[in-house]
């Protein structure tokens, strides 16, 4: 497609409110739990109270006898098969339960209260087994085996992610300075304000319709069919508006299967709504990851190597979380230019709620280690950390050791911007008497899709009505992040109509074309390119007709603000809608409709984890300023400056919204959010003990959008959905180090940990080279 000059853009680049905002601010939009339908039953799930136990028997007779109960299901009376990576999971467990919250039985009843009473009447006999909660203990030979049924899994290690590039040992010999440290990330949760709610209903002819706020609807449809033995030609998935996901609602989860099985048994529509407690206990989390990382550099500050041992504590089953290393690995090998790298990673089963896909997907965890070590290394070298970063920054044209081809890169510019705005050069290292400090962190993240399936594509249909209204039917869907509006803007720009003339349809698998789904910050890039291609094709059909009417050549025409005109003689013009009608309302007429499918020019990683999985990469840098109370360990985040390379901001207001919102989640990870567990039991599964940040905890975030105009992105745009969440834990840890002189080793940096580090004088560990004077 031709390059577009910014001055020519009519719609792209404007701050356009989200198309659905009026429905949202009035409460008129109907989320899954707002749907009302006749005969709807309420479902409830019986969950395991034990972290590890054998199921000896299940007696549901009393529950079945309770008036108002329409179905009681358990592994003994349903048709189901394995699912999950490595087929290690089952919707309803028949043999063993492996964490507190594991699904054992379920009920559908006339209302919630009857359903809950029926759950209480189910009697399950367990033989309690020894359980393991610490991933390092799970690696020991004597540890209980959590998946003894899986022949190809030895011990509790379900996967290894090992990577080698160059010669790390030789590089370590040469290094002037090597820093080493351990860094841990906790179990956290996506915690959208809307919990998971799913409704399943079979028509009398056996067609299944599921309403679920899931965002990989086509995978979801196939999984329902595969696991429950259904005909996937007779399944419709409808995605109601999503009340926040952040990855938590990405894909099929156990309760989705259970809702469908309940509907099948009850022969009535069933709603299964997770309570907030169940949302924490029984839906997917961000798994803890533990790093032992070494970084080395020569005396001039050129990075020589990174060496990482990683244990990913993925919990009881392998859902998406087992693959978070895919992204964490990118950061270890490719954040800055690192000539040699080595990773040894074990994904370990433990008797805990298991990891899913949460915004940033392994990257906040890895960046916490990598970017703290950059500042530790700089301090050991006697260099400014920003200078160290700039010296090693990735640049456009680089191909990283994993084969990631960087085609647009604003990392250096981002670093310079936050350096300047935060007063870094004058202020860092000077405020310790006031217990204040500055810390920085940058990130790299996929921004042009992520090829993890056969296709990384998305379909689009653009249909132009005889009224002149344009409908985009996109395979991709809206989660609240504003992608629907961005897609509409891309279509409006490409065709030449005002944004008010475009609507988006994207919620029904019967209607919309195939798409992988919303993940990996891919929607604006992949779905945007598909939408742009379909829009261009639809526009060309209209130009063809208009050319006849205006007696001009199509190539001499342009569309502006809904009017087709001859470019050099704008008085020769025809209304856009009229051209559509002239094409349609005649003998041998035709509708204006075009389809497109965009699959980015990327490659699967090979077995050695090399391959250009994304068509573009996003970059950014943050600086945090904190004040630490050494008495209580309470940390107040005073300022957060951010700069993100977004390629091009299709809608600057939405880009800022993604970055501000992502950063707030990152602040939560850094300072407060954690599912604190005792013996596998989440101590307090509620939003305040979990520590979801409030309006008082998050400061006003300064956002800078850096436009590098990616060669393949739609109008130059790259993905922006996940970047914001990645740097804050590392940047805030670095700021705490600057304020106090001690080095945070884990997050969340809750007050008692900070106080403990201060009181025990936790420091950086410099192995070789210069004396580690200074801070860090």
């Amino acid at each position: 497609m031709p390059a577009v000059r910014t001055s020519e853009l009519q719609v792209v680049g404007r701050r356009i409110p989200k198309l659905d905002a009026p429905e949202k601010v009035t409460g008129q939009i109907a989320y899954a739990d707002d749907l009302r339908m006749s005969g709807l039953l309420e479902g409830a799930i019986l969950r395991s109270p034990h972290p590890h136990a054998r199921i000896l028997s299940i007696d549901v007779s009393a529950a079945e006898r309770l008036p108002g109960v329409r179905a009681v299901i358990h592994a003994g009376n349903v048709q189901q098969s394995c699912f999950g990576y490595g087929n290690d999971n089952m919707p309803l467990k028949g043999d063993k339960v492996r964490f507190i919250g594991d699904e054992v039985a379920a009920v559908a009843a006339i209302d919630e209260e009857v359903a809950k009473r029926a759950i209480d009447l189910i009697h399950v006999e367990y033989e309690v087994l020894p359980a393991v909660f610490d991933p390092y203990e799970a690696l020991e030979d004597a540890s209980p085996c959590i998946h003894d049924e899986l022949a190809d899994v030895s011990g509790n290690v379900s996967m290894r992610w090992d990577f080698d590039h160059g010669d790390v040992d030789a590089a370590a010999e040469r290094a002037a300075v090597v820093v080493e440290g351990r860094y841990s990330a906790p179990q956290a949760a996506p915690a959208p304000i809307e919990t998971h709610v799913v409704i399943a209903s079979f028509s009398p002819s056996g067609h299944l319709t599921v309403w679920s706020p899931v965002h990989m609807v086509f995978m979801y449809r196939k999984a329902l069919a595969d696991v429950l033995g259904l005909d996937w030609r007779k399944i419709t998935v409808i995605q109601p508006p999503v009340g926040g996901s952040f990855g938590g609602k990405i894909d099929i989860d156990t309760h989705d299967f259970i809702a469908v099985m309940l509907a099948k048994h009850a022969r009535r529509p069933v709603r299964l709504a997770m309570s907030r407690e169940e949302e924490f206990i029984g839906t997917r989390t961000r798994q803890p990851i533990h790093f032992r990382l070494r970084t080395g550099a020569d005396a001039e500050g050129n990075l020589l190597f990174r060496d990482a041992e990683v244990v990913s504590d993925n919990g009881a089953y392998n859902a998406w979380g087992s693959h978070a290393m895919l992204v964490a690995m990118n950061t270890i090998t490719s954040m800055y230019r690192v000539p040699n790298s080595r990773i040894r990673c074990a994904v370990v089963y433990t008797n805990k709620n298991y990891g899913g896909s949460v915004r940033g997907f392994g990257n906040p965890q890895a960046t916490f280690a990598v970017e703290q070590q950059m500042e530790e290394l700089a301090d050991a070298l006697g260099m400014d950390p920003m200078d160290l970063r700039l010296r090693n920054a990735n640049q456009s044209g680089d191909v990283t050791p994993q084969g990631m081809e960087i085609t647009s890169c604003g990392l250096s510019e981002c670093l310079e911007i936050v350096r300047e705005q935060s007063g870094w050069d004058e202020r860092r290292g000077t405020m310790r008497d006031r217990h204040r400090g500055l810390g920085a962190a940058a990130f790299i993240h996929v921004g042009g899709g992520a090829r993890i399936y056969g296709s990384d594509g998305c379909g689009a249909i653009v249909k132009v009505e005889e009224s002149g209204q344009v409908t985009l039917i996109s395979g991709s869907s809206e989660l609240g992040q504003g992608s629907e509006t961005a897609l509409a803007m891309i279509v409006a720009e490409e065709i030449g109509v005002p944004i008010e003339s475009v609507q988006v349809v994207n919620s029904n698998t019967d209607i919309k074309p195939w798409d992988v789904g919303v993940h990996a910050s891919r929607t604006t890039f992949v779905a945007g390119n598909a939408a742009r291609m379909a829009a261009a094709a639809a526009r060309d059909k209209i130009l063809e007709t208009a050319a006849d009417l205006l007696e001009a050549r199509p190539c001499d025409l342009r569309v502006r603000d809904g009017v087709v005109e001859v470019a050099d003689e704008p008085e020769r013009r025809i209304d856009f809608g009229r051209a559509v009608r002239r094409r349609l309302l005649r003998e041998e007429g035709s509708v204006v409709m075009a389809t497109a499918f965009y699959d980015p020019p990327t490659h699967h990683q090979d077995k050695e984890y090399r391959g250009n999985i994304s068509a573009a990469y996003g970059f950014g840098a943050h600086v945090a300023e904190v004040e630490v109370d050494p008495g209580t360990g309470m940390v107040r985040l005073l300022n957060l400056w951010t700069a993100h390379d977004v390629g091009r901001a299709i809608n600057p207001m939405s880009c800022e919204g993604q970055i501000e919102g992502g950063a707030a989640m990152g602040v939560g990870l850094a300072l407060s959010e954690e599912l604190v567990m005792f013996d596998g039991q989440i101590a307090a599964p509620n939003l305040h003990d979990y520590g979801l940040p409030t309006s008082v905890d998050v400061p006003r975030t300064v956002v800078n959008l850096v436009e590098t105009i990616d060669p393949l992105g739609p109008f130059g745009a790259k993905g922006v959905g996940e970047g914001g969440i990645i740097p804050p834990p590392a940047a805030i840890a670095n700021a705490i180090a600057d304020a106090t002189g001690v080095r945070p080793r884990e997050y969340p940096m809750r007050p008692w940990k900070v106080k403990h580090w201060i009181d025990s004088e936790e420091r950086s560990h410099v192995i070789a080279g210069k004396d580690a004077s200074g801070h860090g």
């Binding site: 209260e113 407690e277 008497d433 006031r434 217990h435 004040e627 109370d629 008495g631 209580t632 360990g633 309470m634 107040r636 300072l671 407060s672 604190v676 005792f678 101590a683 307090a684 305040h688 003990d689 520590g691 940040p693 409030t694 309006s695 008082v696 905890d697 809750r750 007050p751 008692w752 106080k755 403990h756 009181d759």
Partner: protein
């Protein structure tokens, strides 16, 4: 499913509660009771809705005496300018309790009777020498608030007894008080440690003082030896540190998801001096009038010795 009884008078409420000692529970703002029933911590069969009873909401100041009706909303304490001057600890505790919505609904009586170890109102009232007024089946009686709490979730109230008001002493001009706490989030959080302090100053020295703690013992507590450490002094740093040490020794925290016992003890030794210091500044008119203290007692410039 619970039934709800709406009494027409306090006598009716008392009689109903006395008649159903095992199954009935009073409800006012509902912000604790309904959470408990939702999470299964309690399963009352009957709720006695006190929220409509007249004459138990609101507060009055009579000289040094503050009388708070049990149904006084936390929000009305938070917003009162006179209370901010006279009972700063109480207003500070009110300001940080839950959210605006919770404070609009929750009552002083409910916050006391629920007897949560980390509750905000008890320490703030304890340093103001609060006395609980109770109406029961056998009549009315009063008891020092310090004797009111028995264990987490339990008070001395017998079935049928209702807390109707709290009296507190809020001397003017030469006294000051303060409430500070340690939390994870900076708002909308429960205290990991809560500290209230009050001092009376006469001729440049402390003539009377009180320190109370929450979340560091099974019940809110007054620190017995704190006053001895500070009376007669002008609260120099050694004196403050000693008061902090005594409070840390006196408390009995546990380790849980909100922090370890050792950490909480440390924080007590840090927050007690800060709270006493701010109370002193208020008593000596050195603190901006009506201005609340930052939640953890650290104000901008504190580290460099500036006073706000």
């Amino acid at each position: 499913m619970a039934d709800v009884f709406i009494p027409g008078s306090i006598e009716e409420a008392v009689a109903f509660l006395a008649d159903h000692p095992a199954t009935a529970m009073p409800i006012a703002g509902g912000t604790d009771i309904l959470v408990d029933t939702r999470t299964g911590r309690s399963r009352p069969e009957r709720l006695v809705d006190l929220s409509g009873l007249r004459g138990f909401g609101g507060f009055e100041l009579d000289g040094e005496l503050l009388r708070l009706g049990a149904l006084t909303r936390i929000r009305s304490i938070e917003l009162d300018a006179e209370l901010a001057r006279r009972a700063a600890a109480l207003v500070e505790a009110a300001r940080v309790l839950g959210s605006v919505q919770i404070r609009t609904m929750a009552t002083v009586g409910g916050n006391l009777c629920h007897a949560t170890p980390s509750a905000e109102m008890p320490p703030a009232l304890l340093v103001h020498e609060a006395v609980a007024e109770i109406t029961g089946a056998s009549g009315r009686y009063s008891t020092p608030l310090a004797d009111f709490f028995v264990s987490p979730g339990r008070t001395i109230l017998a079935p049928g007894d209702l807390l109707t008001a709290v009296r507190a002493r809020v001397p003017s001009s030469t006294s000051g008080s303060c409430y500070l706490r340690q939390t994870v989030r900076w708002s909308m959080d429960l205290a990991g440690v809560g500290v209230a302090a009050s001092v009376h100053v006469k001729e440049g020295a402390v003539s009377k003082a009180s320190v109370a703690l929450s979340a560091v013992a099974p019940v809110p507590m007054v620190v017995a030896g704190a006053e001895d450490a500070v009376v007669g002094t002008d609260l120099g740093s050694d004196v403050l540190a000693e008061a902090g040490r005594r409070a840390a020794q006196a408390c009995a925290p546990i380790s849980d998801a909100r922090g370890t016992a050792d950490y909480r003890r440390e924080v007590v030794s840090v927050l007690v001096p800060r709270a006493l210091r701010i109370a002193w500044l208020r008593a000596t008119a050195s603190w901006p009038e009506g201005s609340p203290a930052p939640a953890n007692g650290v104000w901008t410039g504190m580290w460099t010795g500036e006073l706000r």
